[in-house]
């Protein structure tokens, strides 16, 4: 198996929480019941993942199989993504064509591959005549980035398609066109729908880009999973006074200032994670705060170098 594919398998399986491992693997359906039985699910996650990847290699799993697994994972974790809704508008008086799912998939794939050089497209049928489409984009000279895919969920009996938000916003019109070419209808009013009344189109978020940046930085710093439960962190400072302003009594002081700062909370790390998205702090947060899980300490002594 290609190294990059093996790596992709490894990282995709690693993402799956242990509690969901069996369920997701079964839903994926690539490894049979018998094969899954041969694996020890009680061992450490890293070893389990290694065993599973080996099993996939033996069974000659392809990139597409890995992509399907990624789709299954995302289906279980759809709530962790932010979705935009697109509605296709039909010309008035036009007949509703009989929809052929297989034909749709074929032409969708063809159109997208014709338009883009390096792209991975995978499909997985879902309930209610829906199809999940996973698209990994590359560029003229680069292979598709499997770690930043876009998902499109298309409900074939409706004019709606949901897409997971992507930083590659330039590709959204292309997706729209792909639907258009297939359906020969005119899209596309971009509306963000949600169950939240906040998603009303009369509300304009001026700092959407900044908001998204903050979300992204927060995700990168804290990850997707719940934080370890911590109730306090303590910082003992022994530093000299620092200020942007020149002069002042404190600035001349030779001796370092001593102070103790204690943060306490029923769930300190979750609280810290929520600071930037809530607008109470800048993102990224001070590394003094974010290093707590990495360093495994919550008592700090800070001195001048």
């Amino acid at each position: 198996m290609d190294e990059t594919v093996a790596e992709f398998f490894k990282r995709t399986i690693l993402k799956i929480p242990m509690t969901e491992m069996m369920t997701i693997l079964k839903a994926w359906g690539f490894l049979s019941e018998n094969q899954l039985q041969t694996v020890n699910f009680r061992q450490r996650k890293e070893s389990l993942v290694q065993d599973l990847v080996l099993l996939c290699e033996k069974k000659r799993a392809s990139l597409n199989d890995a992509a399907i697994l990624d789709i299954v994972y995302t289906q279980f974790h759809r709530h962790q993504k932010v979705w935009d809704v697109f509605r296709m508008s039909r010309e008035p008086g036009e007949d509703i064509d009989l929809f052929d799912m297989e034909q749709f998939k074929r032409s969708f794939k063809k159109i997208l591959q014709r338009a883009l050089k390096n792209v991975t497209i995978s499909f997985r049928d879902a309930e209610e005549n829906a199809v999940w489409i996973r698209i990994a984009w590359g560029s003229q000279y680069r292979k598709p980035n499997q770690y930043r895919p876009v998902y499109v969920v298309y409900y074939s009996q409706t004019p709606y398609a949901f897409t997971s938000s992507s930083q590659l916003r330039s590709n959204i019109p292309l997706l729209g066109q792909t639907f258009e070419t297939h359906n020969s209808t005119t899209p596309l009013q971009e509306r963000s729908l949600g169950l939240d009344i906040n998603m009303d189109s009369r509300i304009i978020h001026e700092n959407r880009i900044e908001k998204e940046r903050v979300q992204r930085v927060t995700q990168e710093t804290f990850g997707y999973y719940p934080q370890p439960r911590l109730e306090f962190a303590q910082y003992k400072l022994e530093t000299k006074f620092k200020s942007d302003l020149n002069g002042g009594i404190l600035a001349e002081r030779e001796e370092p200032l001593r102070c103790l700062i204690k943060f306490s909370s029923p769930h300190l790390l979750e609280a810290l994670k929520a600071l930037a998205p809530a607008g109470i702090a800048d993102a990224p947060l001070s590394p003094l705060l974010t290093c707590i899980p990495n360093k495994g300490m919550n008592y700090f002594k800070i001195r001048d170098k």
Binding site: I197, D200, I203, I204, H205, E206, N207, I209
Partner: protein, 146 residues
């Protein structure tokens, strides 16, 4: 605010701070409400900095301050008087409303929609400047002592 029955078309722009991104076209802004969370000094500082980016003409009745969080005194790190002084400096009305409380929020929304309609010139015979002087006359007279 959007739930209110309003004959005019209402649009709300939410921004973390000013200035707004300049690469966007947007309709005329009729009213700017600065929301200060009394629980956060960061919030106050943000508003103070944003105020510098507001064109002077807005301060003739098209700016207001909304302070939230006064109900939970123990959480307040910004003193009530600080926002009072701020509003006084900018000659603009200050409203207190605990946005976390549904009832207060609904009432404030009604008030803001009315204010907005006046500022947009949709209420015949009443302008933003009229409204400003009306609101000012009901201010606490001891304000001048601050």
């Amino acid at each position: 605010m959007l739930k209110e029955d309003c004959a005019s078309e209402l649009k709300v722009h939410l921004a973390k701070s000013l200035p707004l991104p300049s690469n966007v076209t947007r309709p005329r802004i009729d009213l700017i409400m600065f929301v200060v969370n009394l629980h956060s000094k960061y919030s106050l500082r943000n508003v103070e900095e944003s105020l510098h980016h507001v064109d002077a003409t807005f301060f003739l009745g098209r700016v207001g301050f909304l302070a939230t969080g006064a109900g939970r005194e123990s959480h307040c790190s910004v003193h009530r008087n600080t926002v009072v002084k701020l509003a006084h400096t900018y000659r603009s009305p200050l409203l207190f409303c605990d946005l976390e409380v549904e009832g207060f929020r609904a009432t404030m929304a009604q008030r803001l929609v009315r204010m907005l309609q006046i500022c947009a010139g949709h209420v015949p015979g009443l302008s933003a400047l009229n409204l400003l002087s009306l609101l000012r006359s009901s201010e606490n007279p001891s304000l001048e002592d601050l």
